[in-house]
Structures are given as structure tokens and as C-alpha cells.
Amino acid sequence: MAVEAARPLPGVLKQLRTLLEPLRKEEPLPPQTAVGFFTDTSLCIGCKACEIACKQWNQLPAREPVWAGTSYDNTRELNAINWRHVLFIERIGRHEAGDHDGGSAAETAAAPTELPFFNPDRWLMLSDVCKHCANAPCLEACPTGAIIRTEFDTVYVQQDVCNGCGYCVVACPFGVIARDALGGTARKCTLCYDRLKDGLEPACAKVCPTDSIVFGPVDQLRQQAQARLAQLHERGLREARLYGADDTILEGGLHAFFLLLDEPAVYNLPEDPSRPSRHVLPASFWTALVALALGLLGIFSFRRR
């Protein structure tokens, strides 16, 4: 009798298991070396090959190009369909304004190692991309778990899980991730996750003709960036600086970091953004405090007398 009764149980269990399948937590893949980009703006020539390669590889649609009315930038922003964006910053006549270091500018202009970017009249160019932050605010905000950290330590949006709540859009301090108007999901640079899986480097880094975009293991890239910075400083380009190459930005640094030739704000990059998840505790504290006060007031208002 007992055996007879026990027989339907495995069937029920099996059904239950198939029902709960979406909740099953998959084993994470064995971690690989953390990889990222080092974008050296002193080498960028503004050819936009990275933008095109990215669009082609990731099959991203292109809008009708519009002139921004400012420079040769007609991409304007990183969004759901632009995962690389080349900025064109015209710093022409900046030193003629007669401010701090007119003398030193003339000095550098006459230096024997003159390169276009040593000239005070210059264009600054930067190929902007998702920073793949070590502590990514978009990942921390995501309520569905669609945004994950891959085995390559990059930040990736699972398109089949994302439901387009839009919380990552406001969490990102760099204005990178955006909700796709057509698909309704959040999209951004994947650091060519599919190519990494096959041992290839991302399309933008592959195509970059001047090696302004370098792909590689983050530790190695950080050393390379420090060496390049020292070289530029040695040649007299004191304005050169690294952005996100150490652990300061967002408490862990960026896995796609930059060598800049001016202060970050010139490139629309926030100097030291705060990490949104750090706001939860103080904001909750004040809310709880006021809720407690109102609760006491409520009890006081309603108590029997």
C-alpha cells in the first residue's frame, strides 16, 4: 500500500521542478582574466572606425546622420544603438584668452617633439564607451538580475531577462545605458561578449587604426597606461591624466578607462561620481526616522483618554 501511494510523488516533484525552472540559479562559469579597454585619447584621430565596426558586429541600427551643429560629432551620445561614440572637442584659441600659462604653451609649441596634440590649438577626440565599472551602478540597481558580471569581469545585459524598468538608466553616472525604443530593453556595450567567448578581441579595438583603443587584461592595461602617462609627462604634456585607471572612481575603478588630455568635464565625464547604492542607507535612515516620528504622532493622536 505504502509503495503504491508513493509512486505518483516523483511525477509531482518532476512537474514542480519544471515549474520552478526559471528560478534555478545557474552555476557561474569559471572566472577568466578580467579584461577591458584602455582608450588613449592622445592617439585618437577621430576616424570613427570603432563606431562603424561596433555597429556592424553587433548589428545595431543607424539613424539618419544629423549634424550636431558644433563639430564633426553626429552621434552625439552613447545610447541603446550607439555603443561607441567619438567626441570632437574643439579647443581652439584656448590659450590666447590670456589666462594662466600662455608662456608655457608657447614653449611647448616650440618643443622639438611637436605632435598635433602638443599644439595649444587642437582638437581633442575621445572614443567613449561603457566603462564596465568594477562596482557597476546599473548592475547594483537592476531588480530583475538581467545585468550580470560575466566570467571576463565585464558588465552584460541579458536581453531575454530585462523587462525595461529603466532603473539602470538613471543609476548609471556616465549616461551610458539606455532603454531601446524598439525592443523595450536596456542596451549597452557588451565588450563583444560573443567575440570574447571565441577568443577574439572586441570589434572596436580590432579595427582601431592607431591603437588608441587597446584591449587586454585590466592589470596589464593599467601598467601600460601608467607607462604611457609617464612618457607623455616626460615629453612635457603635463595636462595628460588617467581617468578610471586606479581604484578611486566608484570605489573600484573602471575596466574601460581613458588617458585624457584635459580635465574630465571637458569630455563630459564626471570627475568623481558617487556610487548610488551608497545612498540607500542614509536615505533609508532619514525615512525611517521621519516614519518613526509620524508613527508616534499617530499613536499620540489616536490614543484613548
Binding site: P22, P143, C162, N163, V170, P276, T287, G298, I299
Partner: protein
């Protein structure tokens, strides 16, 4: 007939002239600008701001995708939370005279909660995937916590309203209704109240946990929203009680709570503006992309300060007449409230103010995200 019409048009013309005169005075004195500087502590300096480097003033952040659905969700969610909170207070600590408060509160709470999930689902980019929200329980993400809170609060709010309906014999006399009526409503009230306070406040914490300067610079938005949830809810319950001529004593308790909630909202809002400084310009300034006119008229003055003053006056006059009323109550029927214009106006002002608080904060958040100079300042300046 003729003279009456003339007098009406004359009255209309006088009104229009008066409104125009007021507008002129408002423009000439710049009171809004002065209030903005006073509340934020930031003196705008356009010349210096123009010196700050940006990239052609292109936004440094993405614009939020949240629109009117979220405004209404914040407003209705706040009402659902506050109404449950007040009804539970009446159930746990109240007298027999507070039965109307309790009943109204529980019904209004579940009524206000009904559209909330629909609004949230409609707002998604992929509405059919709304259940994916329940894949995670993420303490660090206020949205994840909020979803779980909304799901569990719906249970308490719905069950409390059902029990109330069964006790009011709206569900008939069959065994199910009798069983429902016997369930311990007051026992449910305790965890329900905690969840209600969470639901009323988490929306502000959610906005504060972003990179938008207006929402995240000061961490006071949760305190503002929880106060507003309770002030609008007491206004809504008081409105229903006033219209249904409830006992004055029950109304008096609500008025005291509302007075306190309005005061706490005023203080929290001031702390929010002070803490935000320049980031709050999008909300309080009167420039082209700033929401000051709407904020000062409908929220700060019309929706908070004016009703608070009205409430203070009402409570003071009640206190003056209080002694006579309580001595009479012992012998006679409990005093019933009369429908008074000032009371209704007060409730309506608070409700409209609560709606516009959510709306201006969301819309000014959009504006704040487009303002590259303030965004970059926010990431540069010490927090």
C-alpha cells in the same frame, strides 16, 4: 436679467484685472527667485556657470524613462500606504468613534492600491516580463525591495479591506463572509503598518539611489515622500469623513495627525532643498527648464504652507470651543461635524499638493538629467 449679466461680466473683468495685477507684482518682485535662493542657499551665477567646461552642453546623463505612470503610482501608492497606516492606528489605538476612520481607511487603501500594479506594468519597456521582477531579492536595489513590499502589502491591504467589508455585512451572510469577519484584523494591522510605512517611503529612497543630481544629492526624498503619504491620506480620509458628517472627535484626531504630517513634510522638504543646493534649481528656479512656478504655487505654498496654517487655525478654534463640546458630549448625542468650506478646501489643497509634489519632482528630475553643467558640478563638488 440684463443687470445681472452685466454685473457678472463686470465681476469677471475685475477678476481678470486682479489676476493680471498679481502676475505683474509677482514678476516685479521676483518672490519666487528669492524663495529659491533662500531655500537652496545657492545664488545662481550665470557668468561663472558659463565658464565651466562641458561638451557642448550635451547631457552627461540619460534622461529617466519614467513619466506620468510613475507620478500616479507614487501618488496612489502613498495614499494606499498612508490610508492603511491611519486605519490601523484607528483600529489599534482608537475609540468607538474612530470606526468610520478605520472603515474609510481600509477601503480607500485597497482602492488606491488597485491601479498601482497596472501603472507599474504599463511603464515597463517589456510589460509581459513583469514577473521577472520576482526573480531576485536584492537588498541594495530599492526597486527590488519595493516590488516585494508592494506584493506583500497588497495581501495585507486587500485582506484588511475584505475583513472590513465582511464586518460591514457587504459580503452577505454566507459562511465565507462570517469566517472573514472573524479574522483578526488588528493582528494583521501590525505587520501591515510596517509594510505601509515602507511602501510610503521607499519611493523616495528609490529616487535618491540614482545619479540624477536633483534626486540624489540630498538624501531626504524618502522623508519627504513618507510625510506626504501620511498628510495626503489623512486629508483624503478627512474629506470623506467631512462629507459623511462623522463625529467631530474622530475628525479632530485626523486633523492633529495631518497638522503634524504637514509640518514634518515642510521641514523635510526644506532639508531636501538645503541639502541639494544648486542641484535643486531644476525644481525651484524660475528659468526656462525649471519647475519653480508650479512647485511654489501648487506644492510649497498652496499644498503645504497654506493648508498647514489653515489647519493650525482650525485646531486653535477647536481648542477654544473644546471645553463646551466635551461637557455637552456626555449628556447629548456625540457632536456631528458640519460640512464646512474651509475643511473641504484644506483637504483638496493637500491632495492637489501631494500630486504636484510627485509630478514636479519627476519632471524636474528629467530637467536635471539634461543639465550637464549641474551634473558635472555634482560629481565634482564635495558631497
Amino acid at each position: 436679467m440684463q443687470p445681472e449679466r452685466q454685473s457678472f461680466s463686470a465681476w469677471l473683468a475685475t477678476g481678470q484685472a486682479l489676476a493680471q495685477r498679481l502676475r505683474q507684482i509677482s514678476r516685479a518682485t521676483g518672490w519666487m527667485e528669492r524663495l529659491a535662493v533662500l531655500s537652496t542657499g545657492y545664488h545662481p551665477d550665470p557668468e561663472r556657470e558659463q565658464q565651466e567646461p562641458t561638451y557642448y552642453d550635451y547631457p552627461a546623463l540619460k534622461e529617466p524613462v519614467w513619466r506620468w505612470e510613475i507620478v500616479w503610482y507614487f501618488f496612489l501608492g502613498g495614499l494606499a500606504a498612508g490610508c492603511y497606516f491611519i486605519a490601523s492606528l484607528a483600529a489599534l489605538f482608537g475609540d468607538a468613534e474612530d470606526r468610520a476612520t478605520r472603515r474609510t481607511g481600509y477601503y480607500l487603501s485597497s482602492l488606491a492600491l488597485l491601479p498601482c500594479p497596472l501603472l507599474l506594468i504599463k511603464d515597463l519597456g517589456r510589460p509581459e516580463r513583469f514577473l521577472n521582477m520576482l526573480r531576485m531579492f536584492k537588498v541594495r536595489s530599492p526597486m527590488s525591495m519595493g516590488v516585494w513590499c508592494l506584493v506583500s502589502f497588497s495581501f495585507f491591504s486587500g485582506l484588511s479591506a475584505l475583513i472590513q467589508a465582511a464586518r460591514d455585512q457587504w459580503l452577505g451572510r454566507w459562511w465565507g463572509a462570517r469566517w472573514l469577519a472573524r479574522l483578526p484584523q488588528r493582528l494583521l494591522a501590525l505587520p501591515g503598518m510596517a509594510l505601509a510605512l515602507f511602501l510610503g517611503g521607499y519611493t523616495g529612497v528609490l529616487l535618491a539611489t540614482t545619479s540624477i543630481p536633483l534626486w540624489s544629492r540630498s538624501k531626504m526624498l524618502g522623508a519627504v515622500f513618507i510625510s506626504s503619504a501620511i498628510s495626503t491620506s489623512s486629508a483624503l480620509i478627512a474629506l470623506v469623513l467631512r462629507l459623511s458628517a462623522a463625529p467631530v472627535a474622530a475628525l479632530h484626531k485626523l486633523e492633529r495627525l495631518e497638522w503634524g504630517a504637514l509640518l514634518s513634510e515642510l521641514l523635510a522638504l526644506f532639508a531636501f532643498l538645503r541639502g541639494s543646493g544648486r542641484a535643486a534649481r531644476a525644481l525651484v528656479g524660475s528659468g526656462p527648464a525649471e519647475y519653480g512656478p508650479r512647485f511654489w504655487r501648487f506644492v510649497a505654498i498652496g499644498g503645504l504652507l497654506l493648508p498647514w496654517l489653515l489647519q493650525t487655525r482650525l485646531l486653535l478654534t477647536r481648542r477654544a470651543h473644546g471645553e463646551a463640546a466635551t461637557t455637552g458630549a456626555a449628556t447629548k448625542q456625540p457632536e456631528r461635524s458640519r460640512v464646512r468650506f474651509s475643511g473641504l478646501l484644506l483637504s483638496l489643497l493637500v491632495l492637489i499638493g501631494g500630486y504636484f509634489l510627485r509630478r514636479t519632482i519627476i519632471e524636474a528630475g528629467h530637467s536635471s538629467s539634461r543639465d550637464a553643467r549641474t551634473t558635472l558640478w555634482h560629481a565634482r563638488a564635495a558631497r
